[in-house]
Amino acid sequence: MRQALSINVERSFSQADFNDFAQLSGDNNPIHVDPDFSAGTRFGRTVAHGLLLCSVLRGLLGQLLPGGRLVEQSVMFPAPTYAGERMCFTVSVSNTDGSGCQVTLKVIRVADGTVTCEGHGKIEP
């Protein structure tokens, strides 16, 4: 059996990252960019865009399986990702067959292990 393929990176976001992603995506939801508004939400402060997490995961997949095409992806966001907290992004190959690789995707908050994004995807050559 071949060694399991996995890669991870630790990263923390700043409010500036959320602002940049808002401008890039067009998603200017105040839960991402307005600290005053966010103080009154269930989260109490701004949170990362889900697609910002997916974008970092996609970048990691590019390192794990260079040149592979992501043809499908399914993710959940069970908890918020805040600015200023170390997050660990992990992508792993869970299965390979003739048509490509199944991959698992996960983001956890390093401080307490809370999962803030998890899911899976399929990469084809």
Binding site: F21, L24, N28, P30, G62, G67, R69, L70, E72, Q73
Partner: protein, 158 residues
């Protein structure tokens, strides 16, 4: 109109639709590479990309996903929306210069948890589907009015 608003859970009905468009520009590709660390030459290197099955550079798939995110947050349900999950199937490449439009349709409401499920379809300027999927979100419990975001976009930095 300089402000945007959305819909609360109770104001949303099955079959309700919304859409959001974005022109994909060179600066988007550069910024997305920086944010994601995805420096696949199929996005960045014209010469390399010309020799691939796409015949030229293509946009990052997550940029297509981000347009869905923008549609959810800006249109339906609108500002204050909380993302719970998203499925995505990518069916066609998006090229630089393409104008892509995310179309949303409410397909289910779960009253006990106030979860809304929306079918998502992203099409290019020719009406060809580039991605489909399903989003699960929570709508803002109260109606929000937010300032329309400023128009100036990222500029490529030399």
């Amino acid at each position: 109109m300089n402000q945007l608003t959305g819909f609360t859970y109770d104001e949303i009905s099955i079959g309700q639709t919304a859409s959001f468009s974005k022109q994909v520009e060179e600066s988007d590709i550069q910024m997305f590479s920086a944010v994601s660390g995805d420096v696949n030459p199929v996005h960045l290197d014209e010469e390399y990309a010309a020799g691939t099955m796409f015949g030229g550079r293509i946009a990052h798939g997550m940029l297509t996903g981000a347009v869905i995110s923008a549609a959810l947050a800006m249109k339906l349900p609108g500002p204050g929306t909380i993302y719970l999950g998203q499925t995505l199937n990518f069916s066609r490449p998006v090229k630089i210069g393409d104008r892509i439009t995310a179309h949303l349709e409410v397909v289910a409401k779960r009253d006990d948890k106030k979860i809304i499920t929306l079918a998502c379809e992203v099409a290019n300027q020719d009406g060809k589907i580039v991605a489909i999927g399903e989003a699960r979100v929570l709508a803002s419990p109260k109606k929000l009015l937010i300032d329309r975001p400023p128009l100036p976009r990222f500029k490529a930095v030399d």
